[in-house]
Structures are given as structure tokens and as C-alpha cells.
């Protein structure tokens, strides 16, 4: 028998029992919808975080003090200058500072306040939307000027801050620039920030020249590993660490961070998808249940079909096509619902869910697989009926 005849027969049978077919489909709809939606949320989170790590700049190496190493030295401006002289390094942007309360006319904002050098602009990809960035002479003069992030401005109640004086820990600073927003992601909000000249930070705000960290831009992406090793060697030497002593600093490349973020978000996606997958299995069991009932109810029909010469395969195909049709139909609606979930995630989570074509293809394949897997046993049972026994069934 032609497979189209099986398909036609299956649809006639399913249409004859619309209510039941729809309820059976519902299980698969929820399962596939949940999987697609959850995976989309996981993927969305991944792209968001990866995007913000890449938004930091390109070919970056980060260094910071390890802090809790006994006898360890903090990173200093001299360390940063020495790193800048290493071959392969194009720029170094040292940073100093931490969270601080910013205020303007009674409005306050808890922002990350960093003392930086002009290199920060290129190294960390910080674009000024209004005004200008911190210049060399600002640093040399320890000028009390600041470049602020958009969210800090919003916290302070106005975006019209250019030329105005804001208060950082009791010291007035003149706003000379406003940063282009980067979008919030990760633990540090890049838009809730205030940048000041590094010397001003040392003398007016922090009172010490221990760096909180430094970013190194490498000219050639292929040399990242070499440069990162050279920095480690240089810092150990500068910090007088003897052979075998623990590093009193961390050196991480952007690639390391991207890898780590990638791994975490892949696990997250798999976890979300896996939990949602359980509901898909439940949906499949629902199909199996209904198909078993259907096979029993239609025993006489099976008997008649066999009596007039249907082979086992013909009966098997008929019932298998029914279960696959149910699960594919459910899968189709489920994919649509998954899309809606992905769109609906944006206002809730702050980033859009991402439905990849491969997820859709996979969802279809999995629904077909569910239909076959959970349909085979009922269909096999139907195909094994003895014709005369089935004809006598009341």
C-alpha cells in the first residue's frame, strides 16, 4: 500500500475524533513549546553575555591583584607602564577605584567610579556620545573632570549634565562627557559608571595608587597567549616572586572569559531544555495511551481490514502515521508557542529569546521521533491482531 493512502486513512481517523486528537496533541504542544522557549531563553542569555564581553573591546588581556596572597603586592602604575613596553602590546589602560555614591542636586546614584587614562577610550571601546573623553592633560593636571554613563545620568535625574558639577564622595567634578550606552549585562553595568582622570582618583578619591585592574590591548590576536605569558613573567619579576611562589595577581584573556561564559550558558541552556524535555516525554506517553485505547476500540476495524487482505505492515503503517501525525501537529503548534515565549521573554528578562533554525529543525525531528517511539508499540499491537479473533470482538 502507498504511504499516501496510509496518511489519508490516518487523517480520516483523526478527524473522526477531533476532540480527543486535540487533547492528545496538547501534551506535545506544551512539551515542544517549553523546550523551544527555554532553549531560546538560554540562547538569548548566551548571546547577551557574549555580546557584552565582546563589547569590552577586542584582543584584551585583563590583570588584577590577587588580594589575599600573603606578602603580595598590588598592581601599580609602574607595572602598567612596564607592561606597555612589552612587545606585542599596543595599549594598556590601568584602572583604579570602586563603587561610590554620586550626587547632583540632591539626587544620588550608586555607580562604579574609576580613575582611567586616555587609553581607556580605545582599549575598552568606550565611545563618547556628548562632549569629550579624558585627555592626557586632564590626567597630568589631576583635573576634577568626569565622563559619566547614561544610567548614572538617569539616576541623577537629568541627561543635561554637560558642564555641570556633580559630587563624588564630597569632591565636586565637572562633567565633560557622556558615554554611549552599551546595554546592561553581567555583574557590572557598563552604563552605570563615572570615569575620572587616574591621578585625580589617586589623590582625591582613593588615596592610594594600588590599581584595581588593568586592561591590555594586544595588536595581533594570534599573540594573545604569548603576551599573556610575558605579562605573567614580567609581573612576577617586578613583584620579586621567587620560583614556586604563588602569583599575587590574575591574568585572564578575553578568550578565556568568552570560553567560560560560553560553557556556563551552554550548561544553562541544556538544563532548561532538559527540564522542558521531561514534559515532552509526558506528551509522548499521552499519545501512546490514546493510541492503545484507539487500537482496542478499533479491533473490529482491524479485523475487517486484515480479512480483506491488509498485511501487517499496512496496519502498522496506518496506526504509526496516526501517532506521528499527532506528534508532528503538536510539534508545529508547540514551535509557534515557543516563538511567542521567546518574544515574551524580552520585557521579563531584559533580553530577547533567540530561536535558532537548528532548534526548530530539532523540535520537528524530536516530535516525529516521539510519534514513532510512542506509536510503535500500539501500532505493532494492532498489526499483530488475529483477523478472525478481531472480527469476533464486540
Amino acid at each position: 500500500m502507498n504511504i499516501w493512502e496510509s496518511v489519508r486513512m490516518a487523517f480520516t481517523a483523526l478527524a473522526a475524533n477531533k476532540g480527543r486528537s486535540l487533547l492528545t496533541i496538547l501534551g506535545v504542544v506544551i512539551g515542544v513549546g517549553a523546550v523551544i522557549g527555554m532553549v531560546a531563553v538560554g540562547q538569548g542569555a548566551r548571546e547577551e553575555v557574549l555580546g557584552s564581553v565582546q563589547g569590552l573591546g577586542s584582543n584584551l588581556i585583563f590583570a588584577a591583584s590577587a588580594g589575599d596572597v600573603p606578602g603580595g603586592q598590588p598592581l601599580s602604575l609602574e607595572d602598567a607602564e612596564a607592561i606597555a613596553d612589552l612587545p606585542g602590546v599596543s595599549r594598556v589602560a590601568p584602572e583604579i577605584g570602586g563603587p561610590l555614591t554620586v550626587s547632583y542636586r540632591g539626587e544620588t546614584s550608586r555607580s562604579s567610579v574609576s580613575g582611567v587614562t586616555p587609553e581607556y577610550e580605545q582599549v575598552r571601546n568606550a565611545t563618547v556620545a556628548l562632549g569629550r573623553f579624558i585627555s592626557r592633560s586632564d590626567v597630568d593636571r589631576s583635573a576634577r573632570v568626569a565622563v559619566i554613563g547614561l544610567e548614572t545620568a538617569d539616576d541623577l535625574g537629568t541627561r543635561e549634565l554637560l558642564g555641570k558639577k556633580i559630587d563624588l564622595g564630597g569632591v565636586p567634578f565637572t562633567v565633560i562627557g557622556v558615554l554611549e550606552p552599551k546595554g546592561a549585562a553581567g555583574p557590572v553595568n557598563p552604563d552605570q559608571t563615572v570615569l575620572v582622570p587616574i591621578n585625580t582618583a589617586i589623590t582625591r578619591l582613593v588615596g592610594s595608587d594600588s590599581l584595581s585592574g588593568l586592561s591590555v590591548e594586544v595588536g595581533d590576536a594570534d599573540r594573545m597567549d604569548d603576551v599573556s605569558k610575558a605579562i605573567t613573567r614580567l609581573l612576577r619579576q617586578r613583584h620579586d616572586l621567587i620560583e614556586g611562589a604563588q602569583d599575587d595577581f590574575f591574568v585572564t584573556t578575553q578568550v578565556d572569559i568568552l570560553d567560560a561564559v560560553g560553557t556556563i550558558t551552554t550548561v544553562l541552556t541544556a538544563l532548561l531544555g532538559g527540564i522542558a524535555g521531561i514534559s515532552l516525554v509526558v506528551g509522548g506517553i499521552g499519545i501512546m495511551n490514546i493510541m492503545l485505547v484507539s487500537v482496542t476500540e478499533r479491533t473490529r476495524e482491524i479485523g475487517i481490514r486484515k480479512a480483506i487482505g491488509a498485511r501487517r505492515w499496512d496496519i502498522l503503517a496506518q496506526f504509526l502515521v496516526e501517532s506521528v501525525a499527532l506528534s508532528l501537529f503538536g510539534g508545529g503548534i508547540g514551535i509557534a508557542i515557543g516563538f511567542l515565549m521567546a518574544i515574551g521573554a524580552e520585557p521579563l528578562l531584559g533580553f530577547p529569546g533567540v530561536v535558532t533554525p537548528s532548534a526548530v529543525v530539532l523540535a520537528f525531528a524530536v516530535s516525529a521521533g516521539i510519534g514513532i517511539f510512542f506509536g510503535v508499540y500500539p501500532a505493532w499491537k494492532a498489526s499483530r491482531q488475529d483477523p478472525i479473533e478481531a472480527l469476533r470482538y464486540e
Partner: protein, 254 residues
């Protein structure tokens, strides 16, 4: 005419190749277990030649339908040997039996066994679907057969919209769908008035003249009169087997 078996291999060969289509040797069918056992068919020996028109008669419960189910490859005997067209049926697997039922045997059930959700036309189409006949040819042939049994105006009716006699005629049309060489009819005129019954008998005679082998179960003496040979069954045994010399003359036979 479709031969009963298409592939002629020696495996499962039985009986002499002497024009015998059906050869039953000590066929027995026992139902139930222990003390409740009934031998519905109790040691039947029967040979039917190719092209023969045979009627089986006997009181109700004498095992006619049970025997017919065995002949039609629907049921397997408890004991005895059944050779169908030179093949031992016991040695055939389920799919080979399905092939025989689909292509070589037309079966008219005493209880019709139509699919209630399909129309008369679709019911007649069904054996052709399983035989792989294409949609258009199939519908044409199905409506031709329905016309042949006088149901041209009832093609879109479902079984529950048809009278008992009309259902019986749909069942007959369906049994003819794949042009079987062996037609087994279990009381095909049981629900018909004498006029429509006579039409069916005329149809059977015509199919017989075309070369088909026909086995007919009937209670009616005047229907049996059209057969060449009448077998009487009682309590699962053949009690009488008479060739009728005055049967309807067979064309082409001297």
C-alpha cells in the same frame, strides 16, 4: 484471472497438481477447552476443482461458517491439512495469507463486515487500496461493481444508511474488487427478497461462467440448485456430497 499464488515455489507444495484448488484432509476445528469443547468442524475431507460451483448446506450451527473461514485463510484448523492451489496453508506466514485473501480470494461474510465510517464506495475501494490500485481506477472499478449489484444510486451511503440487503450487496461488490479467482460467499442471499436474491444468483452464475471457482453457503434449496454440486454438513461432518447433473449448463463444456 489472478492465480491463488503468484510465486510458484516448491516450498510448502502439497497435493497433486490435478486441477484441485481446495483440498481439505481431515480438517477439524475445536472451540473451547476441557469439558466445554465443541468440534465445530469434525474431520472434513473435501476437494474442489478449479472452476467448480459448489454449494454447502446444513442446519444452523453445523459448522458451515467455521469451515468457510478456514477455506478463506482467515482461521487455522485445529487439525488436518488444507492445500490451497497446491500449497500447504499451515506453512504460510501471516503476510502470505494476507496476500491470498487480498488477491485470490473474495469473501462475502454472513455478517457483511463493512467499515461503518466509510461509504459504500469507499468500502468497495478498500481491498484495491491494499492491492495498490491507483485512486482514479479504483473509484471507477468500485462504482462499476456497485452498479453490477444494483447499488449505483447508493455509492455515498454509509452502511447504517443502507438496508440489510443493500449492505449484503456492498459486501458482494467488495469481494469482487480485486477480481479474485476464488469466491467464497457465506449466505449472500440470506437477507434478500427472492427477486434480488435471484439477481445475485444470476451474478454468481456469470462469475462462474467467467471461470471463477465459487463456494456458496445457503439455506435455500432453490439457490443451491444453481450450483454444480451440493455438500451437506451436519455437526461438523459431511453427510452428503452430490454432483448435480442438471446444473446450469457450463458454456464451452461438452
Amino acid at each position: 484471472m489472478t492465480p491463488v499464488f503468484r510465486r510458484r515455489d516448491k516450498a510448502g507444495a502439497c497435493g497433486a497438481d490435478d486441477g484441485t484448488v481446495i483440498r481439505l484432509e481431515q480438517i477439524t476445528k475445536v472451540f473451547g477447552e476441557g469439558t466445554a469443547q465443541i468440534a465445530a468442524v469434525a474431520g472434513v475431507d473435501l476437494e474442489v476443482r478449479r472452476g467448480e460451483f459448489l454449494a454447502i448446506m446444513g442446519p444452523s450451527g453445523s459448522g458451515k461458517s467455521t469451515l468457510m473461514n478456514i477455506i478463506g485463510c482467515l482461521d487455522r484448523p485445529t487439525a488436518g491439512r488444507y492445500c490451497l492451489d497446491g500449497r500447504d496453508v499451515a506453512k504460510l506466514d501471516d503476510d502470505a495469507l494476507a496476500d491470498a485473501r487480498r488477491l485470490a480470494i473474495g469473501f462475502v461474510f454472513q455478517t457483511f463486515n463493512l467499515l461503518p465510517r466509510l461509504t459504500a464506495l469507499q468500502n468497495v475501494e478498500l481491498p484495491m487500496i491494499y492491492a495498490g490500485v491507483g485512486g482514479r481506477a479504483r473509484r471507477k472499478r468500485a462504482s462499476d461493481f456497485l452498479g453490477m449489484v444494483g447499488l449505483a444510486g447508493r455509492v455515498t451511503h454509509r452502511p447504517n444508511q443502507l438496508s440489510g440487503g443493500e449492505r449484503q450487496r456492498v459486501a458482494i461488490a467488495r469481494s469482487l474488487a480485486n477480481e479474485p479467482s476464488l469466491l467464497l460467499a457465506d449466505e449472500p442471499t440470506g437477507n434478500l427478497d427472492s427477486k434480488s436474491g435471484a439477481e445475485i444468483v444470476t451474478l454468481l452464475e456469470r462469475l462462474h461462467t467467467d471461470g471463477r471457482t465459487i463456494v456458496l453457503i445457503t439455506h435455500e434449496q432453490d439457490v443451491a440448485q444453481h450450483a454444480e454440486r451440493i455438500v451437506h454438513l451436519r455437526d461438523g461432518r459431511i453427510v452428503d456430497d452430490t454432483a448435480r447433473l442438471d446444473a446450469a449448463p457450463e458454456e464451452g463444456t461438452p
